[in-house]
Amino acid sequence: MIQVENLYKELGSKPVLKGLSFEVNDGETFVVIGKSGSGKSVLLKHLIGLLKADSGKVMIDGENIGALSFKELQRVRQKIGMVFQSGALFDSMSVGENIALALRSKEEFTKWEIKEKVKEALEIVDLAEAADLMPSELSGGMKKRAGFARAIALDPQYMLYDEPTTGLDPVMTDMINRLMLKFKQQKEITSVIVTHELRIVHDVADRVLLLNEGEVAFNGLPAEIEKSEDPVVRQFMTGDSTLAIGEKI
């Protein structure tokens, strides 16, 4: 279970997260939506300890990851896979080696097993032919899928996705959505998905959180958010920029 309590973070002397609290239950697919710059990526980085909170807590399975030593944090991170917004592939090695490196971090697989697992992971995202390509030779969508394969190869208990489908064509988007559903059903992975695509909310979300200017504007079921009368929620759901909130154009 992931618990976030009163998470507060300033970056460059500007508050980005202003006291967030929420919980993600085991097996749940939790979708965080919000407009660009609302702090979604920053929030996600706190969940895996890449950023440390100024105040407040992030608890993974009851452990406050802000207070862990480096070794303990590494142990907790083994349970978590993260898909980065831009893929974040290591550009000095091929796609296959990227995944193999991830597997080597666990030190429990033989060379042969690593090879098999790399192949398997690439097949899941339909990139089997790209194993020997360098990241610079991939399209944006392929990079994203390769990053996906790298995170899933480790069989994590939690998956964190930063904009997993942004920039993909509709068919590929559907494929990624189905994959995320499959992971949830077959492997019982708990997921936190950051996105601004409402389609993900429709297709895979168990629960939705709307982040607005670093605060929780809505936290509930997908069916509820569609009916909500709250102006901030309505604006995001309808994508209507004339529904002025705060500022007028």
Binding site: L50, F70, S86, A88, L89, S105
Partner: protein
Amino acid sequence: MFRVIFYPIRGVIQFFEGIGRYFLLQLMLFRSLTSWRLNLINTIDQMMLIGARSIPIIILTSLFSGMVTAVQSAYQFSSFIPSYYVGSVVGESVLLELAPMITGLVLTGRVGATITAEIGTMRVTEQIDALESLSFDPVGYLILPRVLAGTIMFPFLIIIADFFGVFGGWVSAHAQMNVSMFEFIKGFKQWFTPWDAWFGLIKAVTFGFAITSIACYHGYYTKGGAQGVGKATTITVVVSCVTIVFLDYVLAALFL
């Protein structure tokens, strides 16, 4: 108005913050020493990149700096000074000062800038975050191999520079003043003590560590896209050059 007053104050604060962060990174580096075995392959790769690939440019620069030393001594020697003394001048200047200094400055450009650009790019494209998320220690994986490789390889590079610097000195002494190899070596031996060579190696280790660790530091804390990488690289070269000249003086004052 306040900006004018606070700007220098903030600059000073940032300077000391930077130094503090640099030493914290060195602490993390020592902590990651325990994992050297895991990063052995990376270290050997880096030794190739930092060490072996630098040999041509080191040969070239040291050869010419030895040659110019000989030419200048020939120019300044009056007829009272026996010509074989050119060997002493070249030997002492190359071993003590020229070889370590020129190697240091050349490698600041060749090695330091590369390291900063590489690590800085990894930072701004979230590759370092990705390493961490895969429960790697980025300090052990990225920084340790580079600093180790630099510190180990620099002495070898400086031995090469010593050799070619002295050789270049003889070539040009021979051409200009017709000093034979035998005479040159006689002059070389006149003032030579083994400590001179050791001192050069102490400098080498210090410079190697300084250049690579400064470069890694600036790369690791790069901010803000391609422009940030460019900025970090420039700062690395400037800071390393100043540091080397400074360390050169401090070491001489301490050991000579």
